[in-house]
Symmetry: D2
Subunit: 330 residues, 4 copies
């Protein structure tokens, strides 16, 4: 349930306000040089950072290696990484307990787990678990030195000028969404399978594991529905498979075609808006007005690119191993 | 590789111009009434039908039950269904052999399988395998009588008036794409998991298994990136979880919330356009002009709704079994 | 449920008295030369053959390739093989319907599948499905030309003189069991994983998939429990890992150590003895005497070696792919 | 690789002389009461205990819950449990580094992981990871209050008088093996699947995950090969499936039949004998004499029953969930 992958396999666990979040990773290349420091740059990209529009919750997010590393290298055994939770203010959530926050998992979690869920700060549903994804992503990236994965935010609140979009949120004292574009170069021809494990299937599967994602499109995406086939088709120019255009976004028939893989991901506006809202009180069964206190982001999409990169890397590392394009041991 | 699911598990096989396509299905409720006739209506929806803009290839698409059915009921053992290929004109493809068709799997398949692939009509990549998906989908639907899955085409060639969109294709003698919307009612609260097996992850995974899909969005989708959180949030109105709006498209935190599940799927224009194209000749390594003969659809999206429904049903049946919302034996 | 493997993945289906039995195989090396004829020798070893003590049911057991083969080679797409059932005498079983045969699956199948199971000839539980295993095994063997798997029956009815053991059965007009020993040479160092996917775990898993197996032991096996550690330990003699003795049976710490893999499998006496027996009549709920008619083996273990080889090959092919010791494409 | 199960899914990690060993467990019933104290009795059974013939290494083996527990109950999210390593004397192993210990994983691990493995105390191969199995086993047992799993040692060094067997080891200053028998009552009819996921397959798979296991047999086991079918068959006496004898050991056709499940497991003598041994020095490539220092058990089988119970419980909990015999939420 909480695992993903076939050879490069990631298991995440933890809660926002429990002891920690963490990850166990199988299939890391034995001999890969790996230290906590390798993880810090991407973890820093995920952190709130005092960036405009991000939560003031401060966590050191320092990764603690618990297994699978010896003498600074991956051993081939599963790697376990913990992130202790330090900066917990659960009382914010105790008050909120009876009133499920709109568009948060509170209500469905309560139903699904019979009220036994850890409701503090979203519990296991919290975006804090993306720390674990980022950690796994760094390791996946290190396993594929020839593949370059770059995600960027390309619009906020409908504005391609990101500052302008953010200002909308600040002015409105509300949250806003955004679109992240991911471009991957250096992918060899042949990753992915026809049908069920098409590379789009695997990437979309992993991308929708990120909280707040509402859509994904590859290459020309939804706009492709407005094109003629003769316009949309990418002419193959040479024996390396290079195409004159890249409407396909680097994947044809579910298989990487050697061109850049390109996809875009839609992030909804964060559900934890500072605005007053209404919801049902599960005790009184009455509709109540309330405001979310806690500490939250005005635009979750700002911190999303590194997470998009991470789950992308997780998928690609697994495909590279399955296709024997990277070795299991150095 | 060619399997999908955990309890309700589907394995597809076959080639466009081989002996048959088919499917093996695990996890069908023992005792479920099931005959070939049950499959015919959905299979008919997938067929070209003489519909404007669909291929003249005629296949009876008659399902042959090979295992797992006894006395008109599912036994609990795996169900195997074959569709014989009857109307094969492989010579169309022999001629095309050296020139990989743009935006088809020809080139990547050749690279991935070292030239050993069955290249005739796309081989295992052919959309003919969607017959197998539709068959599995019917069975999945029958296992969940209280869940209603309805997919419709909502735009063709960028036109919400579908006939108008199709006429564009006919006029231009080119192929066009389209958007399919799927609406599911009757889904109980609680399907899906946080993170890796979010219901969106599973649905997106299955949807991208369908050839020609370039994007998926749930609920308000990409438009959500232009909204404020206070607008996008769906207020919970009562203890059944009914919400005042449904921007989330029925899934929150990766879990079904009891409201209608809604998503839209972008289908690119079919790659097999009648227009003259260019590609590399893999023998001469020269660019050549050519036209695709074969028999193809002007708008693959027209036949897609029933396939979208099928893979959706496959996902939901598996989730319903995992959550013990449906029984394994009648 | 009816699948096994990670990359080399086998799905079996079918019933003893249905249309056919068969198998879908993923992960076969693209480019592997493969014809129906390749399968016939091992299939012949599994057949009753007029051998003393084997069933007179005659089936041609001719494999019909339905997918995944093109121009006499594996394409990389799933291979489907069917074996039609020809020589069916279901009336033998209709009579038996109400009385579950002792030590057969009749009673448990009836309970598990709510009476919907195909009860004729054991249905999906029938040893006829081992035809499908043998077919998959041949393909697995062909993928590993340097690995040699040889299984032999080493005792029947407790007698190492097999004829003597069989004569016991004939004299007693009863069924007898036997022990099959499997020896594998050419296995490289490093197959298997610590703990859950130890090579013994995988092999034992696959071996207990064969009907009538009651035990498995590796190397010195149960006798090892009577030895001292200093006696049992295998001294490593050289850098190739060759050991002076092979009490471990070629697997240490769950990993192949480069020496011969050796294990023994216990097959119980076939449950379908010609002797009169008693069982409960599920209709009358009374104990009844009855005799099994049908057509059966006096010693199932006689036909077992090729099946033991097959499931062994299935496991090893998957491990070899996972360890990148064989290529996915020729 | 390091995971087992479908719904109740266990992932283990850690090394003997690293920071910790641990386990992540998916699929635990939400609402299950669970405290560290619940784990202590079984963990104590696994501990060396000053028992004759067990290692003097002292570890508190205190389980630290890191996720998935809230207010003393399972939440439905993955449960993570760590066991810190406290009593490490790695210098014992540093000396041993160049000389792979006979019948230990040292040599194969070195080959498989290219020399990057954590070799201290067996690293990830160490029996210390069985602590994690025992922890998962306790939770599995608690999920199935009506199923009773009891494993006992029934012979040591070939002696059914266990003290006598142990005395052999003490007298010889050598290690000895033993046989553990496991008896399970309260198992409902219907667990397991025909063929690949037969209950014997699943149990054997899990049992061979335990270090030092060399064989398993169900019911009458290897002795069944010396019986006639008419003797071995278990007559069904009533509609509950009770049989007059239990030669099958409670599993027929791969499916539990409602009678007691019985199997026996052979444990080899521990490889770490105090006796002088020989092995190849991987640096000098010469054969050398050496003695293992470290701290080890004279008879590993003594501590094995609780581990056998644990992996058995892990298998059964998963089957019970798959068959919907236990609920996912309390």
């Amino acid at each position: 349930m909480n695992s993903f992958g076939t050879i490069f396999k990631v298991h995440i666990f933890g809660e926002s306000h429990g002891a920690c979040v963490g990850v166990v990773i199988d299939g890391v290349t034995a001999g890969l040089l790996l230290s906590e420091n390798d993880l810090l740059p991407d973890l820093a990209r995920r952190k709130p950072n005092n960036q405009k529009g991000t939560t003031p919750r401060k966590e050191s997010d320092y990764p603690i290696f618990k297994s699978g590393i010896f003498n600074g290298k991956a051993t081939g055994a599963p790697i376990t990484i913990l992130f202790d939770n330090e900066n917990i203010r659960s009382e914010d959530y105790e008050k909120q307990r009876d009133i499920p926050r709109p568009s948060h998992a509170d209500f469905v979690a309560h139903q699904k787990y019979g009220g036994h869920e850890d409701y503090r700060g979203g519990g296991h549903f919290s975006a804090r678990l993306t720390t674990a994804l980022v950690a796994a992503g760094v390791i996946a990236k290190k396993m594929m030195p020839n593949i370059h994965i770059t995600a960027n935010i390309i619009s906020v609140a409908g504005e391609s000028d990101i500052d302008k979009g953010l200002q909308k949120a600040i002015d409105a004292k509300d949250t806003v969404g955004g679109i992240v574009e991911c471009i991957i170069s250096g992918v060899p021809i042949g990753l992915g399978e026809p049908y069920f494990n098409s590379l789009e299937s695997l990437l979309a599967h992993s991308i929708f594991s990120i909280p707040a994602v509402r859509g994904i499109e590859f290459g020309t995406g939804f706009k492709a529905t407005e094109m003629f086939g003769s316009q949309h088709n990418d002419t193959i120019k040479n024996m390396q498979g290079e195409t004159s255009t890249n409407h396909a976004g680097g994947i044809v028939g579910g298989i990487s075609n050697g061109n850049k893989i390109i996809f875009r991901v839609a992030f909804k506006p964060a559900s934890s808006t500072p605005k007053e809202q209404e919801s049902i009180n599960q005790k009184t069964e009455q509709i109540e007005k309330f405001s979310i206190k806690g500490r939250h982001d005005l635009c979750v999409a700002l911190r999303a690119p590194v997470i998009v990169e991470a789950v992308t890397a997780i998928v690609l590392a697994d495909c590279m191993l399955l296709e024997q394009k990277i070795s299991r041991v150095l």
